[in-house]
Amino acid sequence: MILQVEDVTKTFGGLVALSDVTFQVEEGEILGIIGPNGAGKTTLFNAISGVFKIDKGKVIFKGKEITKLPPNQRAQLGIARTHQIVKPLDDLSVVENVMVGACFGKGNAGLASARRKAGEVLEFVGLEGKGDVLAGKLNVPEKKRLEMARALASDPDLLLLDEVLAGLNPAEISNMLEVVKAIRNKGITILMIEHLMHAIMNVSDRVMALVYGRKISEGTPKEVANDPQVVEAYLGDPELAIGLLKDKRGRG
Protein backbone atom coordinates (compact mmCIF):
# COMPACT_ATOMS: atom_id res chain seq x y z
CA MET A 1 0.00 0.00 0.00
CA ILE A 2 1.59 3.22 -1.09
CA LEU A 3 -1.06 5.76 -0.08
CA GLN A 4 -3.71 5.68 2.63
CA VAL A 5 -6.23 8.48 2.92
CA GLU A 6 -8.26 8.26 6.13
CA ASP A 7 -11.37 10.27 6.98
CA VAL A 8 -10.14 13.36 5.17
CA THR A 9 -12.46 16.33 5.58
CA LYS A 10 -12.02 19.80 4.16
CA THR A 11 -14.43 22.71 4.27
CA PHE A 12 -14.20 26.14 2.68
CA GLY A 13 -16.31 28.54 4.68
CA GLY A 14 -19.62 26.68 4.85
CA LEU A 15 -18.97 24.49 1.85
CA VAL A 16 -17.94 20.90 2.52
CA ALA A 17 -15.48 20.04 -0.24
CA LEU A 18 -14.40 16.68 1.14
CA SER A 19 -16.27 14.71 3.73
CA ASP A 20 -14.71 11.73 5.51
CA VAL A 21 -13.03 10.41 2.39
CA THR A 22 -11.16 7.15 2.97
CA PHE A 23 -9.37 5.02 0.40
CA GLN A 24 -6.13 3.23 -0.31
CA VAL A 25 -3.89 2.97 -3.32
CA GLU A 26 -1.85 -0.16 -4.04
CA GLU A 27 1.64 0.13 -5.36
CA GLY A 28 1.83 0.07 -9.13
CA GLU A 29 -1.86 0.51 -9.89
CA ILE A 30 -3.76 3.21 -11.74
CA LEU A 31 -6.66 4.49 -9.68
CA GLY A 32 -9.09 6.64 -11.63
CA ILE A 33 -11.19 9.25 -9.86
CA ILE A 34 -14.47 10.33 -11.41
CA GLY A 35 -17.24 12.61 -10.32
CA PRO A 36 -19.31 15.54 -11.55
CA ASN A 37 -17.93 19.07 -11.45
CA GLY A 38 -17.48 20.32 -7.92
CA ALA A 39 -17.29 16.81 -6.49
CA GLY A 40 -14.02 17.59 -4.71
CA LYS A 41 -11.62 15.74 -7.00
CA THR A 42 -9.04 18.51 -7.30
CA THR A 43 -9.52 19.31 -3.61
CA LEU A 44 -8.55 15.72 -2.89
CA PHE A 45 -5.36 16.15 -4.93
CA ASN A 46 -4.61 19.35 -3.07
CA ALA A 47 -5.04 17.49 0.20
CA ILE A 48 -2.65 14.75 -0.88
CA SER A 49 -0.03 17.08 -2.31
CA GLY A 50 -0.34 19.44 0.66
CA VAL A 51 -1.51 22.65 -0.99
CA PHE A 52 -3.66 23.34 2.08
CA LYS A 53 -4.20 21.94 5.53
CA ILE A 54 -7.07 19.53 5.91
CA ASP A 55 -9.57 19.96 8.73
CA LYS A 56 -9.68 16.34 9.78
CA GLY A 57 -8.17 13.01 8.87
CA LYS A 58 -4.82 11.57 7.89
CA VAL A 59 -2.76 11.13 4.79
CA ILE A 60 -0.20 8.31 4.98
CA PHE A 61 2.36 7.87 2.24
CA LYS A 62 4.66 4.83 2.15
CA GLY A 63 3.77 4.09 5.78
CA LYS A 64 4.65 7.59 6.96
CA GLU A 65 2.07 10.12 8.06
CA ILE A 66 2.44 13.26 5.95
CA THR A 67 -0.72 15.11 6.98
CA LYS A 68 1.18 18.07 8.39
CA LEU A 69 4.08 18.24 5.92
CA PRO A 70 4.36 21.19 3.52
CA PRO A 71 4.03 20.44 -0.22
CA ASN A 72 7.73 20.70 -0.97
CA GLN A 73 8.57 17.99 1.57
CA ARG A 74 5.87 15.75 0.15
CA ALA A 75 7.40 16.25 -3.29
CA GLN A 76 10.74 15.15 -1.94
CA LEU A 77 9.19 12.01 -0.48
CA GLY A 78 7.99 11.07 -3.96
CA ILE A 79 4.60 12.64 -4.65
CA ALA A 80 4.40 14.54 -7.92
CA ARG A 81 1.40 16.08 -9.62
CA THR A 82 0.16 17.92 -12.66
CA HIS A 83 -2.34 20.76 -12.59
CA GLN A 84 -5.68 20.92 -14.30
CA ILE A 85 -4.86 24.51 -15.20
CA VAL A 86 -1.28 24.19 -16.38
CA LYS A 87 1.37 26.11 -14.48
CA PRO A 88 4.41 26.40 -16.73
CA LEU A 89 7.32 28.52 -15.50
CA ASP A 90 6.89 30.86 -18.47
CA ASP A 91 10.24 32.59 -18.69
CA LEU A 92 12.27 29.45 -18.11
CA SER A 93 13.08 27.18 -21.02
CA VAL A 94 11.35 23.81 -21.33
CA VAL A 95 14.53 22.03 -20.23
CA GLU A 96 14.86 24.27 -17.18
CA ASN A 97 11.23 23.62 -16.26
CA VAL A 98 11.86 19.90 -16.25
CA MET A 99 15.16 20.37 -14.43
CA VAL A 100 13.28 22.06 -11.58
CA GLY A 101 11.35 18.83 -11.12
CA ALA A 102 14.50 16.74 -11.28
CA CYS A 103 16.49 18.97 -8.93
CA PHE A 104 13.94 19.53 -6.19
CA GLY A 105 11.75 16.43 -6.29
CA LYS A 106 12.55 13.01 -4.88
CA GLY A 107 15.39 12.55 -7.37
CA ASN A 108 17.21 15.50 -5.77
CA ALA A 109 19.55 15.61 -8.77
CA GLY A 110 22.45 17.98 -9.32
CA LEU A 111 22.29 20.33 -12.29
CA ALA A 112 24.25 18.15 -14.70
CA SER A 113 22.31 14.97 -14.03
CA ALA A 114 19.08 16.98 -13.97
CA ARG A 115 19.84 18.19 -17.49
CA ARG A 116 20.44 14.61 -18.64
CA LYS A 117 17.28 13.43 -16.91
CA ALA A 118 15.32 16.30 -18.50
CA GLY A 119 16.49 15.22 -21.94
CA GLU A 120 15.30 11.65 -21.34
CA VAL A 121 11.96 12.66 -19.91
CA LEU A 122 11.25 15.17 -22.69
CA GLU A 123 11.83 12.44 -25.24
CA PHE A 124 9.57 10.11 -23.27
CA VAL A 125 6.64 12.56 -23.34
CA GLY A 126 7.31 13.58 -26.93
CA LEU A 127 8.73 17.05 -26.43
CA GLU A 128 12.17 16.33 -27.84
CA GLY A 129 13.51 19.26 -29.81
CA LYS A 130 11.55 21.77 -27.74
CA GLY A 131 14.08 21.99 -24.92
CA ASP A 132 15.35 25.50 -25.60
CA VAL A 133 11.93 27.05 -26.19
CA LEU A 134 10.55 29.24 -23.40
CA ALA A 135 7.78 27.32 -21.67
CA GLY A 136 5.37 30.23 -22.06
CA LYS A 137 5.56 29.84 -25.85
CA LEU A 138 4.27 26.25 -25.94
CA ASN A 139 0.72 25.45 -27.05
CA VAL A 140 -1.75 23.87 -24.64
CA PRO A 141 -1.18 20.19 -25.47
CA GLU A 142 2.56 20.80 -25.23
CA LYS A 143 2.12 22.52 -21.88
CA LYS A 144 0.21 19.46 -20.65
CA ARG A 145 3.10 17.26 -21.69
CA LEU A 146 5.48 19.64 -19.96
CA GLU A 147 3.48 19.32 -16.73
CA MET A 148 3.81 15.57 -17.06
CA ALA A 149 7.54 15.75 -17.87
CA ARG A 150 8.25 17.97 -14.89
CA ALA A 151 6.41 15.63 -12.55
CA LEU A 152 8.12 12.56 -14.00
CA ALA A 153 11.59 14.07 -13.81
CA SER A 154 11.32 14.09 -10.03
CA ASP A 155 11.41 10.26 -9.97
CA PRO A 156 8.09 10.05 -8.12
CA ASP A 157 6.58 6.97 -6.56
CA LEU A 158 3.09 8.42 -6.81
CA LEU A 159 1.90 10.58 -9.67
CA LEU A 160 -1.29 12.64 -9.44
CA LEU A 161 -2.67 13.49 -12.88
CA ASP A 162 -5.37 16.15 -12.89
CA GLU A 163 -7.31 16.07 -16.17
CA VAL A 164 -4.34 15.66 -18.45
CA LEU A 165 -6.68 14.78 -21.31
CA ALA A 166 -8.99 17.79 -21.11
CA GLY A 167 -8.79 20.02 -24.14
CA LEU A 168 -6.90 17.53 -26.30
CA ASN A 169 -8.12 16.18 -29.65
CA PRO A 170 -8.70 12.43 -30.12
CA ALA A 171 -5.24 11.80 -31.60
CA GLU A 172 -3.56 13.68 -28.77
CA ILE A 173 -5.68 11.78 -26.25
CA SER A 174 -4.58 8.40 -27.50
CA ASN A 175 -0.96 9.62 -27.47
CA MET A 176 -1.32 10.81 -23.92
CA LEU A 177 -2.94 7.53 -22.83
CA GLU A 178 0.04 5.65 -24.24
CA VAL A 179 2.30 7.88 -22.17
CA VAL A 180 0.22 7.20 -19.04
CA LYS A 181 0.44 3.45 -19.59
CA ALA A 182 4.15 3.67 -20.21
CA ILE A 183 4.59 5.53 -16.93
CA ARG A 184 2.73 2.79 -15.08
CA ASN A 185 4.93 0.22 -16.74
CA LYS A 186 7.89 1.96 -15.13
CA GLY A 187 6.35 1.00 -11.79
CA ILE A 188 4.99 4.41 -10.88
CA THR A 189 1.65 4.43 -9.10
CA ILE A 190 -0.90 6.75 -10.69
CA LEU A 191 -3.94 8.53 -9.36
CA MET A 192 -5.82 10.24 -12.14
CA ILE A 193 -8.80 12.55 -12.36
CA GLU A 194 -10.58 12.46 -15.67
CA HIS A 195 -13.87 13.53 -17.18
CA LEU A 196 -13.53 11.41 -20.29
CA MET A 197 -15.25 8.25 -19.16
CA HIS A 198 -14.19 5.88 -21.88
CA ALA A 199 -10.59 6.91 -21.42
CA ILE A 200 -10.47 6.50 -17.68
CA MET A 201 -12.46 3.27 -17.69
CA ASN A 202 -10.02 1.95 -20.23
CA VAL A 203 -6.79 2.78 -18.52
CA SER A 204 -7.60 2.41 -14.81
CA ASP A 205 -7.20 -0.73 -12.72
CA ARG A 206 -9.72 0.58 -10.23
CA VAL A 207 -12.05 3.55 -10.19
CA MET A 208 -13.44 5.64 -7.36
CA ALA A 209 -16.41 7.99 -7.66
CA LEU A 210 -16.79 11.19 -5.64
CA VAL A 211 -20.01 13.17 -5.37
CA TYR A 212 -20.36 16.28 -3.24
CA GLY A 213 -17.17 15.48 -1.40
CA ARG A 214 -18.19 11.93 -0.52
CA LYS A 215 -16.92 8.66 -1.88
CA ILE A 216 -19.97 6.90 -3.25
CA SER A 217 -18.40 4.00 -5.07
CA GLU A 218 -15.13 2.17 -5.56
CA GLY A 219 -14.15 -0.92 -7.50
CA THR A 220 -13.20 -2.17 -10.93
CA PRO A 221 -14.25 0.12 -13.78
CA LYS A 222 -17.10 -2.25 -14.58
CA GLU A 223 -18.39 -2.36 -11.02
CA VAL A 224 -18.34 1.40 -10.67
CA ALA A 225 -19.96 2.00 -14.03
CA ASN A 226 -22.80 -0.31 -13.06
CA ASP A 227 -23.21 1.10 -9.58
CA PRO A 228 -26.74 2.55 -9.43
CA GLN A 229 -25.54 5.32 -7.16
CA VAL A 230 -22.98 6.43 -9.71
CA VAL A 231 -25.47 6.32 -12.54
CA GLU A 232 -27.89 8.32 -10.46
CA ALA A 233 -25.26 10.92 -9.60
CA TYR A 234 -24.49 11.38 -13.26
CA LEU A 235 -28.10 11.70 -14.36
CA GLY A 236 -27.85 15.35 -13.37
CA ASP A 237 -25.06 15.61 -15.88
CA PRO A 238 -26.56 14.26 -19.12
CA GLU A 239 -23.38 14.36 -21.14
CA LEU A 240 -21.53 12.21 -18.66
CA ALA A 241 -24.48 9.89 -18.21
CA ILE A 242 -24.53 9.27 -21.93
CA GLY A 243 -20.79 8.75 -21.93
CA LEU A 244 -21.17 6.20 -19.19
CA LEU A 245 -23.95 4.35 -21.00
CA LYS A 246 -22.00 4.30 -24.24
CA ASP A 247 -19.07 2.91 -22.41
CA LYS A 248 -21.18 0.10 -20.92
CA ARG A 249 -22.55 -0.74 -24.31
CA GLY A 250 -19.06 -0.83 -25.73
CA ARG A 251 -17.96 -3.26 -23.09
CA GLY A 252 -21.10 -5.38 -23.14
Binding site: V51, A75, D90, C103, F104, L111, A114
Partner: protein, 320 residues
Protein backbone atom coordinates in the same frame (compact mmCIF):
# COMPACT_ATOMS: atom_id res chain seq x y z
CA UNK B 1 24.94 27.95 -28.45
CA UNK B 2 27.73 28.67 -26.07
CA UNK B 3 26.71 28.82 -22.47
CA UNK B 4 28.24 30.26 -19.38
CA UNK B 5 30.73 32.56 -21.11
CA UNK B 6 29.46 35.81 -19.59
CA UNK B 7 32.21 36.16 -17.00
CA UNK B 8 34.90 35.69 -19.67
CA UNK B 9 34.34 39.20 -20.94
CA UNK B 10 32.72 40.76 -17.89
CA UNK B 11 35.64 40.19 -15.52
CA UNK B 12 38.40 41.46 -17.84
CA UNK B 13 36.24 44.47 -18.66
CA UNK B 14 35.75 45.19 -14.97
CA UNK B 15 39.49 44.84 -14.29
CA UNK B 16 40.18 47.18 -17.20
CA UNK B 17 37.88 49.84 -15.76
CA UNK B 18 39.41 49.45 -12.31
CA UNK B 19 42.93 49.87 -13.74
CA UNK B 20 42.15 53.16 -15.50
CA UNK B 21 42.58 55.58 -12.56
CA UNK B 22 45.89 54.20 -11.20
CA UNK B 23 47.32 54.03 -14.74
CA UNK B 24 46.28 57.53 -15.68
CA UNK B 25 46.67 58.90 -12.16
CA UNK B 26 43.41 60.78 -12.54
CA UNK B 27 41.59 61.48 -9.30
CA UNK B 28 38.42 62.65 -11.08
CA UNK B 29 38.31 59.37 -12.97
CA UNK B 30 38.81 57.47 -9.73
CA UNK B 31 35.82 59.18 -8.13
CA UNK B 32 33.62 58.40 -11.12
CA UNK B 33 34.70 54.78 -11.27
CA UNK B 34 34.32 54.36 -7.52
CA UNK B 35 30.67 55.29 -7.99
CA UNK B 36 30.27 52.97 -10.97
CA UNK B 37 31.73 50.11 -8.94
CA UNK B 38 29.38 50.81 -6.08
CA UNK B 39 26.39 50.96 -8.43
CA UNK B 40 27.40 47.68 -10.03
CA UNK B 41 27.60 46.11 -6.57
CA UNK B 42 24.23 47.46 -5.53
CA UNK B 43 22.47 46.56 -8.78
CA UNK B 44 23.99 43.06 -8.97
CA UNK B 45 22.96 42.27 -5.41
CA UNK B 46 19.46 43.64 -5.77
CA UNK B 47 19.18 41.48 -8.87
CA UNK B 48 19.40 38.35 -6.71
CA UNK B 49 16.16 39.05 -4.85
CA UNK B 50 14.43 41.18 -7.48
CA UNK B 51 15.61 39.70 -10.76
CA UNK B 52 16.06 36.03 -9.90
CA UNK B 53 13.44 35.60 -7.18
CA UNK B 54 10.88 38.16 -8.34
CA UNK B 55 10.53 40.01 -5.04
CA UNK B 56 10.91 43.74 -5.61
CA UNK B 57 12.70 45.07 -2.58
CA UNK B 58 11.88 48.77 -2.77
CA UNK B 59 13.70 49.70 0.40
CA UNK B 60 16.82 47.69 -0.33
CA UNK B 61 19.10 50.57 0.60
CA UNK B 62 18.38 49.75 4.24
CA UNK B 63 21.04 47.02 4.09
CA UNK B 64 23.61 49.42 2.70
CA UNK B 65 22.84 51.70 5.64
CA UNK B 66 22.95 48.90 8.21
CA UNK B 67 26.31 47.64 6.90
CA UNK B 68 27.61 51.19 6.80
CA UNK B 69 26.60 51.94 10.37
CA UNK B 70 27.91 48.67 11.84
CA UNK B 71 31.32 49.02 10.24
CA UNK B 72 31.60 52.75 10.87
CA UNK B 73 30.81 52.23 14.53
CA UNK B 74 33.39 49.43 14.84
CA UNK B 75 36.09 51.48 13.11
CA UNK B 76 35.35 54.56 15.16
CA UNK B 77 34.92 52.97 18.57
CA UNK B 78 37.36 50.05 18.43
CA UNK B 79 39.72 51.34 15.76
CA UNK B 80 38.99 48.21 13.76
CA UNK B 81 40.56 47.93 10.30
CA UNK B 82 38.26 48.53 7.32
CA UNK B 83 38.40 44.95 6.00
CA UNK B 84 37.15 43.08 9.10
CA UNK B 85 34.72 45.92 9.87
CA UNK B 86 33.36 45.70 6.34
CA UNK B 87 32.89 41.94 6.53
CA UNK B 88 31.10 42.29 9.86
CA UNK B 89 28.94 45.03 8.32
CA UNK B 90 28.03 42.68 5.46
CA UNK B 91 27.25 39.85 7.86
CA UNK B 92 25.14 42.17 10.01
CA UNK B 93 23.15 43.28 6.98
CA UNK B 94 22.70 39.68 5.82
CA UNK B 95 21.52 38.54 9.26
CA UNK B 96 19.10 41.46 9.43
CA UNK B 97 17.75 40.49 6.01
CA UNK B 98 17.41 36.85 6.97
CA UNK B 99 15.48 37.67 10.13
CA UNK B 100 13.35 40.27 8.37
CA UNK B 101 12.79 37.96 5.44
CA UNK B 102 11.13 35.37 7.65
CA UNK B 103 8.41 37.97 8.24
CA UNK B 104 8.11 40.13 5.13
CA UNK B 105 8.81 37.51 2.46
CA UNK B 106 5.42 36.01 3.20
CA UNK B 107 4.00 39.05 1.44
CA UNK B 108 3.75 38.99 -2.31
CA UNK B 109 3.95 41.63 -5.01
CA UNK B 110 3.13 45.19 -4.07
CA UNK B 111 2.61 44.35 -0.40
CA UNK B 112 6.19 43.18 -0.16
CA UNK B 113 7.40 46.34 -1.90
CA UNK B 114 5.50 48.59 0.52
CA UNK B 115 6.68 46.60 3.52
CA UNK B 116 10.32 47.05 2.48
CA UNK B 117 9.78 50.80 2.15
CA UNK B 118 8.28 50.71 5.64
CA UNK B 119 11.26 48.80 6.99
CA UNK B 120 13.71 51.31 5.53
CA UNK B 121 11.79 54.27 6.92
CA UNK B 122 11.38 52.62 10.32
CA UNK B 123 15.09 51.88 10.59
CA UNK B 124 15.95 55.40 9.47
CA UNK B 125 13.61 56.88 12.06
CA UNK B 126 15.01 54.59 14.75
CA UNK B 127 18.64 55.46 13.97
CA UNK B 128 17.67 59.13 14.13
CA UNK B 129 16.86 58.52 17.78
CA UNK B 130 19.78 56.36 18.83
CA UNK B 131 22.28 58.60 20.54
CA UNK B 132 25.09 56.05 20.84
CA UNK B 133 25.42 56.10 17.05
CA UNK B 134 25.05 59.84 16.79
CA UNK B 135 21.29 60.23 16.28
CA UNK B 136 20.28 62.58 13.48
CA UNK B 137 23.73 64.17 13.21
CA UNK B 138 25.43 60.84 12.61
CA UNK B 139 29.03 59.88 13.24
CA UNK B 140 32.32 61.46 12.08
CA UNK B 141 35.86 60.18 11.75
CA UNK B 142 38.65 62.38 12.87
CA UNK B 143 41.62 62.26 10.59
CA UNK B 144 43.62 60.04 12.92
CA UNK B 145 41.51 57.10 11.75
CA UNK B 146 43.13 57.34 8.32
CA UNK B 147 46.64 57.27 9.80
CA UNK B 148 46.58 53.50 10.00
CA UNK B 149 46.25 53.48 6.19
CA UNK B 150 49.13 55.94 5.65
CA UNK B 151 47.15 59.18 5.61
CA UNK B 152 43.89 60.34 4.06
CA UNK B 153 45.09 60.25 0.45
CA UNK B 154 46.25 56.65 0.64
CA UNK B 155 43.17 55.66 2.62
CA UNK B 156 41.05 56.84 -0.31
CA UNK B 157 43.05 54.75 -2.76
CA UNK B 158 42.72 51.84 -0.35
CA UNK B 159 38.95 52.25 -0.24
CA UNK B 160 38.92 52.38 -4.04
CA UNK B 161 40.66 49.01 -4.35
CA UNK B 162 38.51 47.55 -1.61
CA UNK B 163 35.38 48.61 -3.47
CA UNK B 164 36.81 47.08 -6.64
CA UNK B 165 37.34 43.78 -4.82
CA UNK B 166 33.81 43.87 -3.37
CA UNK B 167 32.40 44.54 -6.83
CA UNK B 168 34.33 41.68 -8.38
CA UNK B 169 33.17 39.29 -5.67
CA UNK B 170 29.57 40.48 -6.03
CA UNK B 171 29.49 40.03 -9.79
CA UNK B 172 31.04 36.57 -9.61
CA UNK B 173 28.78 35.55 -6.72
CA UNK B 174 25.63 36.81 -8.42
CA UNK B 175 26.63 34.84 -11.51
CA UNK B 176 27.35 31.66 -9.59
CA UNK B 177 24.06 31.99 -7.71
CA UNK B 178 22.15 32.35 -10.95
CA UNK B 179 23.81 29.33 -12.55
CA UNK B 180 23.47 27.07 -9.50
CA UNK B 181 20.72 24.73 -8.44
CA UNK B 182 19.85 27.36 -5.83
CA UNK B 183 19.43 29.90 -8.62
CA UNK B 184 17.21 27.54 -10.60
CA UNK B 185 15.01 27.22 -7.52
CA UNK B 186 14.86 31.01 -7.17
CA UNK B 187 13.88 31.49 -10.79
CA UNK B 188 11.18 28.84 -10.41
CA UNK B 189 9.83 30.83 -7.44
CA UNK B 190 9.85 33.99 -9.57
CA UNK B 191 7.79 32.38 -12.32
CA UNK B 192 5.20 30.70 -10.11
CA UNK B 193 5.83 30.25 -6.43
CA UNK B 194 3.02 27.77 -5.86
CA UNK B 195 4.12 25.58 -8.75
CA UNK B 196 7.72 25.72 -7.50
CA UNK B 197 6.67 24.53 -4.05
CA UNK B 198 4.69 21.63 -5.51
CA UNK B 199 7.81 20.68 -7.47
CA UNK B 200 9.71 20.47 -4.17
CA UNK B 201 11.38 23.87 -3.87
CA UNK B 202 11.63 24.97 -0.24
CA UNK B 203 10.47 28.46 -1.16
CA UNK B 204 10.50 29.87 2.33
CA UNK B 205 14.12 28.94 2.99
CA UNK B 206 15.27 29.87 -0.50
CA UNK B 207 13.70 33.31 -0.38
CA UNK B 208 15.26 34.09 2.98
CA UNK B 209 18.66 32.95 1.77
CA UNK B 210 18.36 34.97 -1.42
CA UNK B 211 17.35 38.02 0.59
CA UNK B 212 20.33 37.55 2.91
CA UNK B 213 22.70 37.17 -0.04
CA UNK B 214 21.31 40.26 -1.71
CA UNK B 215 21.81 42.20 1.54
CA UNK B 216 25.37 41.02 2.25
CA UNK B 217 27.08 42.87 -0.62
CA UNK B 218 25.29 46.21 -0.21
CA UNK B 219 26.25 45.99 3.47
CA UNK B 220 29.90 45.80 2.48
CA UNK B 221 29.52 48.53 -0.14
CA UNK B 222 28.02 50.80 2.52
CA UNK B 223 30.98 50.10 4.78
CA UNK B 224 33.49 51.17 2.13
CA UNK B 225 31.49 54.17 0.97
CA UNK B 226 31.11 55.70 4.43
CA UNK B 227 34.71 54.88 5.35
CA UNK B 228 35.75 56.94 2.35
CA UNK B 229 33.25 59.70 3.09
CA UNK B 230 34.44 60.00 6.69
CA UNK B 231 30.96 60.49 8.08
CA UNK B 232 27.64 58.70 8.14
CA UNK B 233 24.19 60.07 8.87
CA UNK B 234 20.74 58.49 8.71
CA UNK B 235 19.50 60.61 5.84
CA UNK B 236 22.42 59.52 3.63
CA UNK B 237 22.55 55.91 4.75
CA UNK B 238 18.84 55.16 4.32
CA UNK B 239 18.01 57.41 1.38
CA UNK B 240 14.98 55.95 -0.37
CA UNK B 241 15.95 57.57 -3.68
CA UNK B 242 19.09 55.41 -3.77
CA UNK B 243 16.88 52.35 -3.43
CA UNK B 244 14.95 53.39 -6.45
CA UNK B 245 18.14 54.14 -8.35
CA UNK B 246 19.10 50.51 -7.74
CA UNK B 247 15.81 49.29 -9.20
CA UNK B 248 16.26 51.69 -12.11
CA UNK B 249 19.70 50.24 -12.91
CA UNK B 250 18.42 46.67 -12.83
CA UNK B 251 15.50 47.56 -15.10
CA UNK B 252 17.68 49.57 -17.46
CA UNK B 253 20.14 46.75 -18.01
CA UNK B 254 17.79 43.81 -17.83
CA UNK B 255 15.96 42.13 -15.03
CA UNK B 256 17.43 38.87 -13.74
CA UNK B 257 20.53 39.09 -15.88
CA UNK B 258 24.10 39.41 -14.54
CA UNK B 259 25.38 41.33 -17.54
CA UNK B 260 22.18 43.38 -17.37
CA UNK B 261 22.73 44.62 -13.83
CA UNK B 262 26.30 45.49 -14.75
CA UNK B 263 25.33 47.31 -17.93
CA UNK B 264 22.46 49.09 -16.20
CA UNK B 265 24.73 50.43 -13.48
CA UNK B 266 27.33 51.55 -16.00
CA UNK B 267 24.87 53.30 -18.29
CA UNK B 268 23.01 54.86 -15.37
CA UNK B 269 26.14 56.38 -13.86
CA UNK B 270 27.25 57.76 -17.23
CA UNK B 271 23.77 59.09 -17.98
CA UNK B 272 23.49 60.74 -14.60
CA UNK B 273 27.00 62.17 -14.90
CA UNK B 274 26.20 63.54 -18.33
CA UNK B 275 22.95 65.13 -17.21
CA UNK B 276 24.50 66.67 -14.12
CA UNK B 277 27.43 68.19 -16.01
CA UNK B 278 25.52 69.43 -19.03
CA UNK B 279 24.35 73.02 -18.32
CA UNK B 280 21.16 72.52 -20.29
CA UNK B 281 20.04 69.41 -18.40
CA UNK B 282 21.67 70.04 -15.06
CA UNK B 283 18.54 71.17 -13.31
CA UNK B 284 16.30 68.84 -15.21
CA UNK B 285 18.16 65.59 -14.61
CA UNK B 286 15.47 64.25 -12.31
CA UNK B 287 12.65 64.91 -14.75
CA UNK B 288 14.68 63.40 -17.59
CA UNK B 289 15.46 60.29 -15.53
CA UNK B 290 11.73 60.00 -14.97
CA UNK B 291 10.96 60.14 -18.67
CA UNK B 292 13.70 57.60 -19.46
CA UNK B 293 12.44 55.23 -16.77
CA UNK B 294 8.88 55.54 -18.04
CA UNK B 295 9.97 54.82 -21.60
CA UNK B 296 11.86 51.72 -20.46
CA UNK B 297 8.93 50.42 -18.43
CA UNK B 298 6.46 51.04 -21.24
CA UNK B 299 8.42 50.03 -24.28
CA UNK B 300 11.48 47.99 -23.27
CA UNK B 301 10.64 46.21 -20.01
CA UNK B 302 13.27 43.57 -20.72
CA UNK B 303 16.06 46.21 -20.51
CA UNK B 304 19.08 46.75 -22.74
CA UNK B 305 20.61 43.30 -22.36
CA UNK B 306 17.23 41.59 -22.48
CA UNK B 307 16.55 43.42 -25.73
CA UNK B 308 19.84 42.28 -27.26
CA UNK B 309 19.22 38.72 -26.10
CA UNK B 310 15.86 38.74 -27.85
CA UNK B 311 17.38 40.00 -31.09
CA UNK B 312 20.46 37.82 -31.21
CA UNK B 313 20.50 34.13 -30.37
CA UNK B 314 24.26 34.03 -30.78
CA UNK B 315 24.94 36.49 -28.00
CA UNK B 316 22.67 34.77 -25.50
CA UNK B 317 25.39 32.52 -24.10
CA UNK B 318 27.63 35.46 -23.26
CA UNK B 319 24.84 37.59 -21.79
CA UNK B 320 23.45 35.44 -18.98
Amino acid sequence: MERGKTLFWLIPFLVFIVALPPVTGSVTLREGIFLILMYVTLASSLNVIMGYTGYVSFGHIVFYGIGGYISFYLMLRDGMHLIPAMILGGIGAALAAFALGEAVLRLRGAFFAIATIGVNEAVKALVNNLNFIGGAEGLFFNFSVYKAYGGAARAIWFSYYTMAAVTLITVVASYLIKMSKFGLGLRAIREDEDAAIILGVNAKRYKSLAYAASAFFPGMAGAVFFFKAGNIEPHDAFHLIKSIEMIFMVMLGGYGNVAGAFTGALVYERLKGFLLVNPLFKNLHMAISGVVLLLIVLFMPQGIIGFIREKSKKLRGVLE
